[in-house]
């Protein structure tokens, strides 16, 4: 129930200022505009954003706790925010209220070389983390397209997936423990061991929760030795189907790439001009030199036996070098929208054919249809016309429903956000009520990022 305070922005600003000081509360329109959107593809103009009442910038778990207690008391919606690069709209303060900008909490608190772990604050940017680790001979291993801007907290909360996830795992797998301020203000901290059998995994409630379960204020993350060597192989095939089947051969041989990608011709446009190939496999290994060499050799021989044509190392290097910027560049053609669906491996080719036909039928401009990181992940990147958002959403929903029909999921990374909460009943069935029941228990007043999980 809204009370007088929650209706009066001035009161909220005053109370927040008491907690974090005046420099860390923003309330002028011009300062709020940049926090009104994330990278959700439909919010192409500031007019599509939702302006929060205020933005607050805490520096400690205690300050976060005080903010949450205040919001819970006055029923003020809170939207945690890292760098606002989320594709799903879940960093948008869609119900108004206050944005909690966690980027002041961006320190590495400790690096434990022996345990190969690091304790960090949630606002730490991945690239800053990686640069600090590499000076000490370590790597984190999480490398999404948004590596130069995304934060640890945002990545945990969207359960993001990066280019190097084949070897190091997705963001969830990299989390050893979390400190979280729950929506009622209670602070919990889980144990920094990979697993325990003392009940179900509490930290998993916050991985991929899109900020709906609490504010992550610290994380202990696994780190890894810097690789001695990296090899990237690219092979061209007759078509996507051939390429995908060849990848499966590599996996069936027991090889475990650091990165794997199967893409259609469009996915290599501009890089492989003259090739007759219509499908490509890209596989990378990194780690101990001798092991990498052996893995690469075996992979090359399998792909060649499958009829693959080797594409030059320069193309592989160029593709790798562009792996962060390529997503942004798509916006030069049109508003870049993507789907990140996954289906069982046995259904991937069926889904691929569906997507090819669907794109033609719906007139969707495709940059690529690609299986990325895990063979189950089959998504596509496309551009749409900003004046035809409704048509694009209708087309997109058709593709998402097809993934569900094939036993898959609507999102293997990125999240639900404001993109498609309407599909969650179809995806989860009665299990959606389980998620909602947990949410209600932790957040009885529904203050924490109340968008995507609310009925």
């Amino acid at each position: 129930m809204k009370d007088a305070v929650s209706r009066n922005p001035r009161d909220i600003v005053r109370l927040l200022t008491e907690i974090v000081g005046k420099d860390n509360v923003l309330y002028e329109q011009y300062d709020l505009i940049p926090y009104s959107r994330d990278r959700c593809p439909f919010l192409t103009h500031p007019k599509h954003g939702v302006i929060p009442l205020a933005v607050v910038r805490p520096a400690t778990t205690e300050e976060v706790q005080e903010i949450v207690v205040l919001a819970n008391k006055h029923h003020i919606p809170l939207t945690p925010r890292g760098s606002g690069t989320n594709y799903a709209g879940s960093a948008v303060p869609s119900k108004g209220g206050v944005v909690v900008d966690l980027t002041r909490m961006n320190r590495i608190l400790a690096i434990d070389e022996e345990s190969m772990s690091a304790k960090v604050q949630p606002g730490l940017i991945l690239q800053d983390f990686e640069e600090a680790l590499s000076k000490r001979g370590f790597t984190f291993g999480h490398d999404p397209g948004s590596f130069p801007s995304a934060t640890v907290g945002g990545c945990i909360s969207t359960w993001s997936v990066g280019w190097r996830a084949g070897k190091y795992g997705d963001m969830g797998r990299l989390v050893l423990s979390l400190k979280v301020v729950l929506p009622t203000g209670i602070v919990i901290e889980t144990r920094s061991v990979p697993k325990s059998s003392t009940g179900f995994d509490v930290k998993s409630l916050f991985i991929g929760a899109e900020g709906a379960m609490g504010m992550i204020t610290e994380a202990v993350l696994r780190i890894h030795p810097s690789p001695e060597k990296r090899v990237i192989l690219v092979y061209g095939f007759k078509d996507f189907e051939q390429a995908f089947k060849s990848l499966l051969k590599v996996l069936r041989a027991g090889l475990c790439p650091m990165m794997q990608l199967v893409t259609n011709k469009e996915g290599m446009e501009g890089l492989v001009e003259k090739s007759r190939a219509n499908g490509f496999v890209m596989i990378s290994y990194e780690g101990v030199k001798e092991v990498v060499d052996a893995q690469a050799k075996r992979t090359a021989s399998i792909l060649e036996a499958e009829g693959g044509m080797k594409i030059s190392d320069e193309v592989a290097e160029q593709y790798w070098a562009d792996r962060h910027d390529m997503f942004s560049k798509m916006n030069l053609v049109g508003a870049a929208g993507s789907i990140d669906t996954a289906v069982p491996v046995s259904k991937v080719l069926e889904f691929y054919k569906f997507l090819e036909d669907w794109a033609k039928r719906r007139g969707v401009k495709i940059f690529d249809i690609a299986s990325w990181v895990l063979p189950e992940n089959l998504g596509m990147d496309s551009a749409f016309d900003e004046s035809e958002v409704k048509a694009y959403i209708a087309a997109r929903d058709e593709a998402l429903r097809k993934a569900l029909e094939l036993g898959g999921t609507t999102s293997y990374c990125v999240g639900v956000g404001t993109r498609f909460p309407h599909l969650m009943r179809e995806e989860h069935g009665p299990a959606l009520d389980v998620l909602r029941a947990i949410k209600r228990t932790l957040d009885p007043n529904n203050i924490m990022n109340p968008g995507w999980l609310s009925p």
């Binding site: 002028e28 011009y30 505009i33 940049p34 760098s83 690069t85 130069p148």
Partner: protein, 377 residues
């Protein structure tokens, strides 16, 4: 509302993309931490303002003025948007609407009255010139001193002249016809004033018949070499920065460096020389030619170099912030074990020296010309 069409288009592209890759290396954002001080944030504000969602105000204008226009965001933008031009176009619009910084008003007035932003007398522009210096009556080369060098960092002017004399490069100066190059005016959105200065200087240089203009100032260099041609059309002379010229003179053997500098030295890329005009290697080549010197790179160098914090009118208006940024840069120099930090811009010199003093750092600062003048034969 009047910004060039390409600027508006760039704003719409950024608004689509929103990747935020510009934030990490930004000079302002990591220190002040407010999204509206990043290129991504400012671009959203700009679009809102241009499309009438929000009115201009002094607070809004200050978001645009609290940017050193260092160009890191432009360098890192995957869409290659000219974020510096975007900001300067918005500044020009805001100035037209009366939203200015009082410090900028003051230096603009001084430029109008005395041809320099520092409120100094024009007659004293060459006060630094040593009596023994040899300045030719006619030559192919002119030395464009620049206001900051002339009035605030005369040691750089002196060292440049000594170096030119030592290498037997004949040159003239333009005084009394050298006026402020216009950089401070253009950078803070005073385009009319800039145009007046640019036209005057181009004409003054043209009249002397020189074919080459040398400057020891990164800001003057950017304006003369890039902004003059863009705003007033083709210029009938070549513009070189002192570091380029020194590298050339060392290569051809007319500048011989003999004295040893057994110190660990790092180089700070001035934004106007590095990211804005692409001169990264020549100053390094010059430094490395000094006998016994140990040259080290800071972790952020060349395209990724951190700005000293002074540019774009920021030092005049937000000096505390400018010093904070400079202290961070000094910290990076210290991290790599440097005894001295060398640069090639009087404005960076000004701010980094202030920061050394304020923070009690043990680092020494030299302009490249000062070091060369000391070690040449």
């Amino acid at each position: 509302m009047n910004v060039p069409q390409n600027v508006y288009k760039d704003l719409t592209l950024c608004s689509r993309c929103r990747c935020g890759f510009c934030r990490r290396g930004c000079t302002t954002y990591p220190i002040l931490g407010v999204e509206s001080l990043t290129a991504r944030g400012r671009n959203a504000i700009a679009l809102s303002f241009l499309d009438g969602l929000i009115d201009a105000s002094q607070g809004l204008a200050d978001r645009f003025f609290l940017c050193t226009t260092c160009g890191f965001c432009k360098e890192r933008c995957p869409l290659e948007l000219d974020t510096v031009k975007i900001n300067e176009s918005l500044r020009a619009e805001l100035v037209k609407k009366g939203f200015t910084r009082p410090e900028h008003d003051a230096f603009a007035k001084s430029i109008e009255n005395a041809h320099n932003p520092y409120g100094e007398l024009h007659e004293e522009r060459m006060k630094w010139l040593p009596s023994e210096a040899e300045v030719a009556g006619k030559a192919d080369t002119a030395y464009f001193v620049g206001c900051t060098t002339a009035y605030r960092r005369p040691e750089i002017a002196e060292a440049t002249v000594r170096t030119l004399n030592g290498a037997k490069v004949d040159f003239i100066t333009l005084h009394p016809e050298e006026w402020c190059c216009g950089s401070p005016a253009l950078r803070v959105g005073r385009r009319d004033l800039f145009l007046k200065l640019a036209r005057h200087n181009v004409e003054a240089i043209r009249k002397t018949g020189v074919t080459r203009v040398v400057t020891s100032c990164a800001g003057c260099y950017r304006v003369l070499s890039q902004d003059y041609p863009e705003f007033v059309g083709e210029i009938p002379f070549k513009v070189v920065h002192a570091s380029e010229l020194m590298a050339e003179l060392i290569k051809e053997g007319s500048l011989k460096l003999v004295r040893k500098v057994p110190e660990t030295v790092t180089y700070h890329d001035p934004c106007h020389l590095g990211r804005h005009t692409g001169i990264y290697e020549q100053p390094r080549e010059v430094l490395k030619s000094i006998p016994a010197i140990r040259f080290v790179e800071m972790s952020k160098n060349r395209e990724n170099a951190r700005c000293c914090g002074a540019g774009g009118g920021v030092k005049a208006s937000f000096n505390d912030f400018a010093l904070q940024a400079a202290v961070r840069r000094l910290e990076e120099a210290r991290e790599v074990g440097a005894d001295s930090i060398v640069s090639a811009c009087p404005f960076c010199a000004h701010n980094l020296k202030d920061a050394i003093r304020e923070s009690g750092s043990r680092l020494k600062f030299y302009d490249l010309t000062e070091l060369i003048a000391e070690v040449m034969k």
